[in-house]
Structure formats: C-alpha cells, structure tokens
C-alpha cells in the first residue's frame, strides 16, 4: 500500500515539477516559430530524461550512493573536476534564470518591476530550504506545480487537429531558418535533461532510503512522471503554436509568452500564466539550490541531508546558501532572464557528454548496481543522443549568436 502511495505521489510530483523556466521558454519559442514541428524534440528529450532519471534512482537504490558521490569514487577528482565545474556554472546561471522567471511572474501579477522581487524570492527559497525536509520540498513543489497543467488545459480548449499533432512527432526539416530550428531542438533537449535533476533525484532516493525492492516504483515513477510531464511541455508548445504563430508573435520576453493564454482563459489568462510560470520557476530554483549543497557535500564527503537539522550539516547548509547568494547577484545585475535561460540550456547540451557518458559507465559496473546493469539498447540510445546533441549544439550555438 505504501509503495502504491509512493508511486502516485511520485508521479504527481513529477508532473507538477516538470515545467520550469527552460521548458516554458524553449517550448513557447518553438511553437511560435515552427508550429507543431518540434513536438518530436520534446518527446525525444522526455524519453532521454525518463531513462536517466530511472538510472539515477536505480543507482541510489542499489549502491546507496548519489550520482555525484559515485562519480567521485569511480573516476576520481581528477576526472570529475571538469564536469563538476561545468555543471555548477550552468546550475548557477540556470538558478539565476529561474529566480528571474519567478520575479517576472510576480511582475505580471503586480505590475511592479521584476528586479524588486529578486531578493524577496531568494529569501523565500532559503526559508523553504531552512525549514523543510526532503519530502516536503519535493512533494510541496510538485503539488503546487500542478497549476502548470493549465498549459495542457489551454491546448485542449484550442482543439488542435490530431493529424497535425501526430505529424509533429515525426522529425522533419523546417521550411525556413534551419539554424534556428536546430538551435531550438538542442535547447529543448538542454531544458528537459537538466543535469541537476539527476543528482537531485538520486540524492532524494538516498535520503528516502529507497531499496532494491522499490526498483519497480522507481521505474514506474520515472517513466510515467516524465511522460505526463512532457505532455505539459507539449501543452506549452501547442498553445503557443495555435495562438502566437498565426499572429506572428515571436516570444522574445515572458510578457509576450503570457499572451498565449488569452484565447483559452480570457481575463484569467495573465493570472494563470503568471502562477504557472512563477510556481514552476520557484520550485526549480529550490531544487537547484539544494542540489548545489548536495553536490558539494557529496563530492567532498561532508555530512548532508535535507532531513538533518541544519546545524548537523553546517557545510552543506553554507554551500547551498552561498550558491543561492551568487545566483541572486547574477539575477540582480539585471541579465534578461529569457536570454540567460536560453544560454544555460544550450550550454547544458554542450557539456552533456561529460555528465552522461560517465553515468553510463557507472550503470554498467556491477560494483555499483550489482546485476541491475543497463541494457545495450538504452546505453546506445543515450550515448548517441548525447553525442549527436552536443555536436549539433557546438555547430549551431555560434551560428545562432552570429545571427543575433
């Protein structure tokens, strides 16, 4: 019975916690510029995320170690230094972007400039982490995040043609601006498969003492939760494609993206969009912040855990506090949150091989996962998608920047 409750809670949490600043901005831009044509990218990225999340839970359940701790032990600090630095830098940018996204959501509700909300949001993130244990953080974010289902409801109310939707799941070449199309495909991958999610998930599994007996719960939660979560991302893309593309509105700010809700929700459009954006971003910011503490503590072997009194894990607490302060500094400087998001998610794909390939090695090492090693098809799919994605990112990011 407890396993069933865990499963339901896990799936609901995954749905509510799926959409954040990266997925909203990439899906909204993809829909407004290419209609349904990039739905396949969300599906492929969702499948990749589901596989990786399942693996990180399996690793934690069998080895009782998180991903960051396992990489340190298996490959040593000399190897880990580069991907670790890359991941922390990207997480810092992404955290600043999430805080910016949440601040813009409050601006949409109040009309007061978003910069004024950055420090109060930072304080709220810190208070959540100071006062809550892991389950409250994870499930609280997921339950409040169910407001993001309004993207699916909006798409539903617009009655998209099933045939057109189906065609979007078949990869096809665009009729215009191929570089931009490839850049958005890469960005969708980077926004969906955020590296922080993997360590956050495995750390959570360690905190909640997931055992080998619960591997089926882990597998079901990973695949069902990610599948339903991807549907929310697809809801963003479909709504954007049906509302913004015919009006030739290109999403270059979150304020413009909010217009996609007007036909579906009328006078509630801006409020609902702001709530979905704000709660999605705030939840992701909380997870990013605590994950920075997890990574630092696990790599250096400190005492850690959201379920421990903060005084018993002082370095862990200090680490996530410092990372939050650094991200607040970036956000306060006044970078445009949308641009910051797009930079972060595109760079994520560039460094992804450094993060995913060692993970694949771990998941085939019986010393860590005993007889629960990964299958050849899964390994091949993840390796190919990671490497192709990175090569594509390296090719299109400079072209995108040169093209403005």
């Amino acid at each position: 019975m407890s396993a069933i409750v865990d499963l339901i809670l896990g799936v609901v949490t995954s749905i509510g916690g799926f959409v954040e600043v990266g997925s909203i901005s990439t899906a909204a831009q993809a829909g407004s510029e290419f209609g349904f044509q990039l739905l396949w990218a969300i599906a492929a990225a969702g499948l990749m995320l589901a596989m990786l999340v399942e693996m990180s839970g399996r690793l934690a359940a069998v080895s009782r170690r998180s991903l960051a701790a396992s990489v340190r032990e298996r490959f040593g600090i000399h190897f880990q230094a580069v991907p670790l630095t890359a991941e922390l830098l990207i997480d810092l940018l992404l955290l600043a972007a999430e805080i910016g996204g949440a601040a813009i959501a409050i601006k949409l509700l109040t009309g007061i400039g978003f910069q004024w909300w950055i420090l109060p949001i930072g304080l709220c993130i810190w208070l959540v982490l100071w006062t809550c244990g892991f389950a409250a953080i994870e499930h609280g974010i997921g339950l409040f995040g169910l407001v993001t289902l309004s993207f699916v409801l909006a798409a539903w109310r617009l009655h998209p043609s099933p045939l057109d939707l189906g065609a979007g799941f078949v990869p096809s070449l665009p009729g215009h601006d191929a570089v931009r199309y490839a850049f958005l495909a890469v960005s969708i991958l980077g926004a969906t498969v955020s590296p922080y999610l993997l360590n956050f998930y495995s750390s959570g599994a360690v905190e909640e003492e997931m055992s080998e007996k619960e591997l089926w719960v882990n597998r079901t939660t990973a695949y069902l939760g990610t599948a339903f979560g991807s549907v929310v991302s697809m809801g963003v893309l479909v709504t954007s494609a049906m509302v913004l593309q015919p009006r030739q509105i290109v999403v270059d700010s979150y304020e413009q993206a909010a217009l996609m809700f007007v036909p579906a929700f009328g006078r509630w459009a801006i409020t609902l969009f702001a709530l979905a954006l704000g709660i999605g971003c705030f939840g992701a910011a909380v997870e990013l912040t605590i994950n920075a503490g997890y990574v630092a503590a696990q790599v250096f072997g400190w005492s850690w855990g959201a379920n421990k009194p903060r005084r018993d894990a002082a370095r862990f607490t200090t680490a996530f506090t410092l990372v939050l302060l650094m991200s607040l500094a970036i956000a306060v400087i006044g970078f445009d949150p949308l641009r910051l998001t797009m930079i972060s998610v595109a760079l994520t794909v560039v460094v992804m091989p450094l993060l995913v390939l060692p993970f694949l090695v771990l998941m085939n090492d019986p010393k860590y996962v005993k007889d629960h090693t990964s299958g050849a098809i899964g390994n091949g799919f993840l390796a190919v998608l990671t490497i192709v994605g990175a090569l594509l990112a390296i090719a299109v990011i400079p072209l995108e920047i040169m093209g403005g």
Partner: protein, 118 residues
C-alpha cells in the same frame, strides 16, 4: 587491496560513523632498497586541489592560512588507524577531535545562531 580503487576518493568515517570527508590523497613512504610503504591517507581540500592542479592546491592552502584554519590541515591518518575498508574507509579517530572538523565546527556556530537550526 587496490589503493586507488578501494581507498582513494572513498568516504572516510570516524569510529562513531560520522562523515569526516574523503580520502583525498594517499601518502606513500619511499624507502631505499625496499618497496614503498603506505604511510596513511590525507583529508583536506588543499591536497585534493593539488591533485587537480598543483597551483589549485597552493591557492587553497594559502586561503586556509589567510583564514587561520590551516593548523593540522590536511589531516593525516596513519595506515594503522584504518579499521575497515569497505563501502567507506572507517578510521580509529573521532571527527570532532581532528582538524578535518575545523570548518564544520566554525560554521556550526554560525548556523546554530539562526532560529530553527536544530
């Protein structure tokens, strides 16, 4: 025992099971006319940084000196004090009595001063 596989980078816990850090380096004693002998393990960010790049290790050591927390760091644990090598490296020390705890204890005073820390 394979030192790199079984000891280096493994988590180190004290005799009471408290996390002390990781085996950031292994100290070998070079003896004339005899094979090297394992002297012990070291814990501390300066030796860890040194493994990444010697200059990083020097920066961290300089920072520890500037902050006045360099006494007894890095912590060296003699090979004879290692009790067990398994998932973790268990050593016959008490974390709170070693220099590995300097930063944790300093930060704990600060963290404890905030309501709700315990």
């Amino acid at each position: 025992m394979d030192l790199v596989r079984d000891v280096l980078d493994k988590k180190v816990s004290d005799r009471n099971g408290r996390d002390m850090g990781r085996a950031d380096s292994i100290v070998l004693e070079i003896r004339e006319g005899a094979p090297p002998r394992v002297a012990g393990i070291e814990i501390g960010p300066a030796v860890l940084g040194h493994r990444v790049r010697p200059v990083v290790g020097r920066w961290i050591a300089g920072l520890e000196h500037a902050l006045g927390i360099d006494q007894g760091r890095p912590l060296r644990i003699a090979f004879g004090e290692i009790l067990d090598v398994g998932d973790h490296v268990k050593v016959d020390r008490a974390f709170g009595e070693t220099a590995a705890a300097t930063v944790e204890q300093g930060l704990r005073r600060w963290v404890s001063s905030i309501p709700g820390a315990s």
